[in-house]
């Protein structure tokens, strides 16, 4: 039986705040994320959810607050006290970042196999046959036909590109993955396939994930925990089914009651 006292959070956000000149991006966001937890960040555009994701993934520097991350060797580091190369190494190996638009997360002129293999080479793998075999295995896991391994993502459909981006991110077995509207812009049937795939892989690999989405159905399906943002602030947080079944804040009640029944 697992006990809770001996394990520590993977990531801790403390008072994360970002002002763009005088405009508020995100104020005082604090939370802990543990291994294997999937947390959804929901809210409408302009709510600050994307700013929060960029702060956490060190793409932008906070105006105040800090992010602590437990490295593989057990040491806890403040992300903004690390050197730029250290942060980049983290992002290439221990983290993944799935962009809403796969064109931003893929190299469109490089073959699918190359896109996946590149991340492996970044962590020092040099054996070409091995890299290709691992890449082929990952393409299979995201349901991309083996005979498409040498094609570039330009020739892929939107859904295939997004699955390729996921394979590229997961091939180094990251412990934390950031996803920015991973199903945005995809057809509903393609979304369902992607969601099922993500759900399965994230739970099999016990990856922690932070998923930004405006779609409460996506949050319900993928996440165990949820944070609701409005006007740059986290207004409600908790277990996903608790927040969605028993929302307390007026804005969350409005969001939940605005879902169209099918």
């Amino acid at each position: 039986m697992t006990t809770f006292e001996d394990d520590r959070p993977l990531l801790v956000a403390e008072g994360l705040t970002k002002y763009y000149s005088r405009q508020l991006g995100c104020r005082d966001a604090s939370f802990e994320l543990y291994e294997g937890e999937v947390m959804a960040v929901v809210g409408e555009s302009g709510s600050g959810k994307s700013t929060l994701l960029q702060l956490l993934s060190t793409q932008i520097e906070p105006s105040a607050g800090r992010v602590l991350y437990r490295m593989r060797d057990g040491t806890v580091r403040n992300l903004w006290e690390m050197t730029e190369p250290e942060r980049r190494f983290l992002l290439r190996t221990d983290w993944g970042y799935v962009h809403q638009d796969p064109q931003h997360g893929l190299r469109m002129g490089v073959s699918a196999g190359g896109n996946v293999g590149e991340r492996l080479m970044a962590v020092g793998q040099r054996n070409y046959a091995n890299i290709r075999a691992v890449a082929a295995d990952w393409l299979g896991r995201v349901e991309i036909p083996a005979d498409r391994i040498d094609d570039t993502p330009r020739t892929y459909s939107g859904g295939m590109r997004q699955r390729l981006q996921i394979a590229r991110n997961l091939v180094t077995a990251p412990r934390l993955i950031f996803m920015d509207e991973p199903t945005g812009g995809l057809d509903v049937s393609v979304q369902a396939r992607l969601l099922d795939l993500l759900r399965r892989i994230v739970s099999e690999m016990r990856i922690a994930a932070i998923v930004v989405t405006h779609d409460l159905a996506v949050a319900r399906l993928l996440s165990n925990r949820i944070m609701v943002m409005k006007g740059g602030e986290v207004i409600e947080a908790g277990l996903t089914d608790q927040v969605l079944d028993d929302p307390h804040q007026p804005y969350t009640q409005l969001l939940v009651s605005s879902i169209l029944p099918v």
Binding site: F4, E37, R193, D241, D245, H248, S257
Partner: protein, 231 residues
């Protein structure tokens, strides 16, 4: 120590979209379920029976009082536990079966049933084999097992949901109308399984409208109307 104990639990909904209307639904909810015991919640619809189960499982937040769940030698108060603790308690101690299946697109009936076992750490092969046995027990035709249940009939979906919820050997089981749209044969399957689980010391809290089923499984009846707020 009871497997599950509620102490002075109260629940009020605040409807912000209706001008902050306060809707008190339950107060002073106190009862316990011992290992091997089946507690049946009774009372007219709207009395708050399902709300009590949702409070225990954590779908509803508990405003006041304590919801104590035995976890090994310790008791955890789910009313104040962190999301992570609630999830862990659910995984190893709490089963919750409702009438409605929340189907996941593209996932087959067999995988839906096996999933909770795999989440608990069972090997996929073994989990799938046990899921298959459970589906057989609930008379779900084998040709349906590989299909996602979104298009199944209401009764079929309910049996898939029962198979999924009843398969893991949780020490506490919450049943919300488990036999609502079942035929006689499958109602008997539910009664058999509940009896087996009681024999293995599970504590069960159930809402059952079917009188025959209630008489077959209940040890204690708790009348929920005494927890109703004077509205």
């Amino acid at each position: 120590m009871p497997a599950l104990e509620l102490k002075d639990v109260a629940k009020t909904f605040t409807m912000h979209l209706q001008g902050g209307l306060k809707l008190p639904v339950l107060r002073d909810v106190s009862f316990a379920a011992e290992p091997g015991q089946c507690v049946v919640l009774t009372g007219p619809s709207g009395a708050g029976k399902s709300s009590i189960l949702k409070l225990i499982y954590g779908n509803y937040r508990c405003d006041e009082g304590a919801i104590l769940v035995r976890d090994g030698e310790a008791q955890i108060d789910l009313a104040t536990a962190t999301p992570r603790h609630i999830l862990a308690v659910r995984r190893r101690a709490l089963g919750y079966v409702t009438q409605f299946l929340r189907a996941v697109p593209r996932v087959s009936a067999l995988d839906i049933v096996a999933e909770p076992l795999i989440a608990e750490g069972a090997a996929p092969d073994e989990a799938t084999a046990r899921a298959a046995d459970m589906l057989k027990r609930f008379n779900v035709p084998e040709r349906l097992w590989s299909l996602p249940p979104a298009t199944f009939s209401g009764g079929e979906q309910q049996r898939i949901n029962l198979a999924r919820g009843l398969l893991p050997d949780h020490p506490i089981l919450l049943l919300d109308e488990p036999t609502a749209s079942l035929d006689v044969r499958n109602r008997a399957v539910v009664v058999d399984i509940v009896r087996e689980r009681k024999a293995r010391d599970a504590a069960i809290v159930a809402i059952v409208h079917d009188e025959q089923v209630r008489d077959d499984i209940a040890d204690v009846a708790v009348d929920v109307t005494r927890f109703a707020t004077a509205a």
